[in-house]
Symmetry: C2
Subunit: 217 residues, 2 copies
DNA sequence: CTTATTTTCTTCATCCATTGCAAATTTGCA
DNA sequence: TGCAAATTTGCAATGGATGAAGAAAATAAG
């Protein structure tokens, strides 16, 4: 099934990620050069770029995966489930994924969280990745409620939910001491926003009813 | 008041901005080097960096200004005004500022909008600037309603509002033909989200009443 | 108007991320 | 074992960013 080639590649990949995190911990993100990371992982600098498209993407190595799983979840709308119901499940599941931290040790995951919230270039790349994900999630939500939510409504819902969670976490950062408190902040922001979005549920439901009547007639 | 020094500096600043936009239009953002921009504006490459901290910041030269004006607006809460009332005024004013486009001609402003929505590095920097602004706006909202909105609520409100507007604009981009339609999308997202946030108004008002009673007793 | 002082600009050198290319190496398979 | 495909590597070049020192310009002083 998995030949030597694939196994070796995966090993190198992990080696690069772990070497990078180790060095970031020691000397800081900006102060660590790609040459050092590559040397630590025992590959050439050039090879680094056949594994990751850049220094930042190494840190977000699992974001594509996360997005795909989130999109899969968005395709599991249950009968009668309202938009906020589906979004609520998305929030719960995302928090679980976030807490597990993509196959990293607890220490590594914590370091990454710290880096991602403080290093400007990482913050910027993270926001871009998150934004692109949101666009796709919005389309997925729109598709999950055909004829019930238009694209602007779906995008507003996703943007509001994720926007609120993200900003609440960042703005409240100083009043938070543990990862658990950070999760708590995110959860509260999500509840608050989902409450506000219930009006959309009504709208979607009434459109669905109208649609039924249309088909029946 | 304004000596030769200041005037000259402002002229160079404008020259750099205009040279840059002209070149971006001709050859594209990524294909234009700082050396070319500097040459076009008749300064050395090194001087570019004493006017702007980087290639991206040139494009966002007016964002600091915008933020300051937005923060001023957030400090003008009227008696009895609810959180969503203040936020509604912020939305209206922001749209006005966005449409006037920071002292650029209509063509320049349009070019900038196009660049900012399509060039990944500009998108990323823009998202970072916007995010930092949101953190400050959240604190400003919190301060505008002392004892009525906690920081997480304020951040959720700001994050939801701006998150919804931004994502709705981006997700709906293909169905939009003019700047006016883009503004329409943003407005609809804002209405939708502000509607949902009215629950916060109630909560804030009841806390204010409780506070009054507390003081009265 | 001339000199001294402060501010700004330029030149030069350097670092580092990123990319293209061609040679060298490793792996999968016959 | 030997060949073809996939990978890795070294090398060179580009371009953004930054530090330092001296030249140039603007302003203040006399």
């Amino acid at each position: 099934m998995v030949g030597l080639r694939e196994r070796k590649k995966e090993r190198t990949r992990r080696a690069l990620i772990e070497a990078a995190l180790r060095l970031f911990e020691e000397k800081g993100y900006a102060e660590t050069t790609l040459a050092e990371i590559a040397a630590e992982a025992e590959v050439s600098t050039r090879t680094f770029f056949s594994y990751f498209s850049g220094k930042e993407d190494l840190v977000y190595y699992d974001s594509q995966d996360r997005l795909e799983r989130a999109l899969e979840l968005m395709a599991t709308r249950r009968p009668e489930e309202a938009p906020t119901g589906l979004l609520h499940r998305l929030v719960d599941q995302s928090i679980i994924w976030a807490v597990q931290g993509g196959g990293l040790t607890f220490e590594e995951a914590e370091l990454r969280t710290r880096l991602v919230m403080t290093e400007p270039s990482l913050q910027a790349r993270g926001l871009l990745l998150l934004f692109d994900s949101q666009v796709k999630l919005a389309k997925a939500l729109h598709d999950a409620f055909p004829g019930e939510l238009d694209l602007v409504e779906a995008a507003s819902a996703v943007g509001a939910l994720i926007g609120a969670m993200k900003l609440a976490m960042m703005a409240n950062l100083e009043n938070v001491r543990s990862i658990n408190e950070l999760v708590g902040t995110a959860r509260r922001a999500a509840e608050l926003t989902l409450d506000g979005l219930r009006a959309l549920d009504e709208r979607a439901a009434s459109r669905a009813r109208a649609d039924q009547r249309g088909i029946a007639s």
